[in-house]
Amino acid sequence: MRKYSWLTPVSILIFVLGTLIFLSPLFVPEDVNWPIKQKLKLGLDLRGGTQIVLTVVTKDLPEADKAAAVENNIRIIRNRIDQFGIAEPTIQKMGESDILVQLPGVKDPIAAENLIMKSAVLEFKLVAEPEIAEKFINQIDAIIQENLYKFPVLAKLAEEDKALAKAGADTVKAGEGIFKSLITTTERDFAVRYEDLDIVRSLLQDSTFVNLKPKGYDLVLESVDEKKKASREPVVLYVLESTPQLKGTDVDRASMEIGPSDSPNPQIANKPYISLTFTRTGARKFANCTGDNIGRRLAIVLDNTVYSAPVIQDRIPDGKAMITGQFTEQEAKSLAILLNNESLSAPIEPKYSTQVSATLGEDSIKSGFRAGLIGILAVIIFMALYYKGAGLIADFVLIFNVGFILAAMTIFGGTLTMPGIAGIILTIGMSVDANVLIFERIREELDAGRTPSAALNAGFKRATVTIMDSNLTTLIAAIVLYQFGTGPVKGFAVTLSIGIVGSMFCAIVFARYIMEKTMIKPGKTTMSI
């Protein structure tokens, strides 16, 4: 009998415990505070979910690019919500420029909307020189004063100010409009008082304002982090050149990194930041831009918020940059993910979101489960009858194999749909293959006159080679499908790989361990197989 190292029982224990832990949320009632939250979701066909309709804003795009922008956004949204291809959303173009998204079992449509809408538009823009910035602010002030009736919030504010002025308070300086009254200055920039932040922010997004604003420059606020929220310091309002020097498409790779604690740069010492590597053309653009503008400031703008605006010290030829800012590790990580995936080709706006019911009727769901049960039972009974004791052991590990598949799908954020269930049932039919190969081999060895112990060893040894070769070929195919496939094809590859790994482990390690522990006894000359 083979001597077991501690590795085999420990790996079996990890396999069984891991499976139970990740499946446990399915059996714990909702109101109990259980540490593991992630749960296998039921698909749109079985349970329904949330429907979100989004509009792609294509009005600023040339006619020829509109359709492509919508298609592109669909693809990007799919990548965002379905990283491994097993989340089973429905994403369709609707009408000319709408996108219909259905997500299985989403309880919080707002969070789902946010995830989809996150655009992560990265731009590098030069900060305007001080005198130009000042002129721009004055221009805007004048324009707003002229068109005050178009901005009810500001008009109301102006009224209040006037009333105060009459009462003797001198808040409004001569020749200054309401806009300038909202602006203060820091050492070198304009800024907005913390209490006025919301007013200014909604003004900047107001389409009337955007249309009236002189072209060529933009007003962009800096990012407001926790520290700023606490101290309520003024928030810098940058005047940036409208034309970006570089864009997100110039970035080849973005990753979250944590600066070493002894870094001379206080911005990154012990702090998470995003390191960027530009593409070849991106690197060239960046070198030119930094070379031509030494002494000026280059703002790093992400989703229309300035994260930092360092002064260009020197030409940077190596095509590398970093985004610093007061990120949490999680924020930096998700920003890096968004930057690595393409950003949306055109902005999207939510139209409405609503609950939707299952696409399949109760009947279809019931008959699907019933058919699965019949199929599995047929396999289990056959194995027990044909391979007797060994068959029962195969049946026993089969149950864990099914559990393992479901647990692994949970980990990858998978969703169970009717075809998915059918697929798992088929996997069960196939996964006994490894057992069949081993048992047939053992029988052959027994026929050749070996003792049960020797037959077991020889059978496993030979069959393992076969199982490895046949399963590795399929696994290679699955990995390629994952690498090159999209959406459901990717998802298929994930489930297939899980099934292969699970069934190999169950047959070669798990079942063997039980067989050796229970079927081989000294002096016994027969084997129930």
Partner: protein, 321 residues
């Protein structure tokens, strides 16, 4: 009980019969695919989404059951219609997605069905504004881009499979294993072309499953051939091939049967939704098992006979790895 314990069927000797059968099936399938074409489902082509409200004016009428609406729409010829409550079910608003391109025609058809089959829910209401709330063309869920991408991914994975089998076995084995895979896929797609059954995303998954299943089956036999070539050095290659196929026959049939049992259970008891998927799988298992036993290794042998690369190949195959 032992199935095929001392099986000794002349698989190799009679290989030309199976070559002819397969050739006929493949030619027929290709003709079918060319002439009849594949009936791509709305997963790939898109369709029309119609939002209807079925709140009856007459308060006596019970709320419309979604199952009943499904039945009515299915009976009207929209077999793959996808029907959901949208918003709270008490609002009786439904979203119906059906295949087709002609928006106006589909709108008229649905209107017609609703007025004739479910008159109590539309009586006294304005059909075009109150009952039918919104009609939109919807794009494909998967789209042709994804379909092409899937085909591409499968082709690339085949190249990698050939390389793996080449390294572990020998090039001819790898190549013919993939030829057998093409054989399986073409015949299965041919069945769908001939029957004009809808080719959905799920059917695509069935085909991918078949690819995995069939290559697995084939390699088990290859593995036995490799082993036997080392053991029975004096026997001729055809005899070794035939013996290997026979010795693995028990396993091939048992695995085929357990998988087939689950697939056929889904076919008979699984309800209409997975009917076609189960059909594709059941057929796929039969075709895949057939090609592993009768085609894949026989093609390798046939290549050896014609190219006289046998000695070299066997040397490569049996060298210690």
């Amino acid at each position: 009980m032992r199935l095929f314990q001392n099986a000794n069927y002349p698989f190799v000797e009679k290989r030309y019969i199976f070559f002819v059968i397969s050739a006929v099936l493949i030619v027929a399938s290709i003709l079918g695919i060319i002439i009849k074409g594949i009936n791509w489902s709305t997963d790939f082509t898109g369709g029309v989404s119609i939002v209807i409200n079925m709140q009856p004016k007459d308060k006596q009428v019970p709320p419309l059951e979604i199952e009943h609406l499904r039945e009515v729409i299915n009976d009207a010829g929209f077999k793959e219609a996808e029907i959901q409550f949208i918003g709270d079910p008490s609002n009786a608003t439904f979203q119906i997605k059906v295949g087709g391109e002609d928006v106006n025609k589909i709108r008229d058809q649905i209107t017609e069905v609703l007025t004739t089959k479910l008159p109590e829910y539309v009586q006294g209401r304005d059909l075009q504004t109150d009952v039918i709330r919104q009609v939109d063309v919807v794009g494909a869920k998967a789209g042709m881009e994804m379909r092409n991408n899937a085909i591409m991914a499968v082709l690339i994975s085949m190249v990698f499979m050939i390389i793996y089998i080449w390294v572990r076995y020998e090039f001819t084995f790898g190549l013919m294993g993939i030829v057998a895979l093409f054989h399986d896929v073409i015949i299965l797609v041919g069945v769908f072309a001939f029957t004009q059954k809808e080719f959905t995303m799920t059917i695509l998954a069935a085909i991918l499953t078949l690819v995995g299943y069939s290559i697995n089956d084939t390699i088990v036999i290859y593995d036995r051939i490799r082993e036997d070539l080392k053991i029975y050095r004096k026997d001729s290659v055809p005899i070794i091939f035939n013996r290997a196929i026979n010795k693995t026959l028990g396993r091939t049939v048992i695995t085929g049967s357990t998988t087939f049992a689950t697939a056929i259970a889904l076919y008979f008891f699984g309800g209409p939704v997975i009917h076609d998927f189960a059909l594709a799988m059941s057929l796929g298992i039969i075709i895949g098992t057939y090609s592993s036993i009768f085609i894949a290794s026989n093609l390798v042998l046939e290549t050896f006979v014609h190219t006289r690369t046998e000695k070299q190949a066997i040397k490569h195959l049996t060298k210690k790895k």
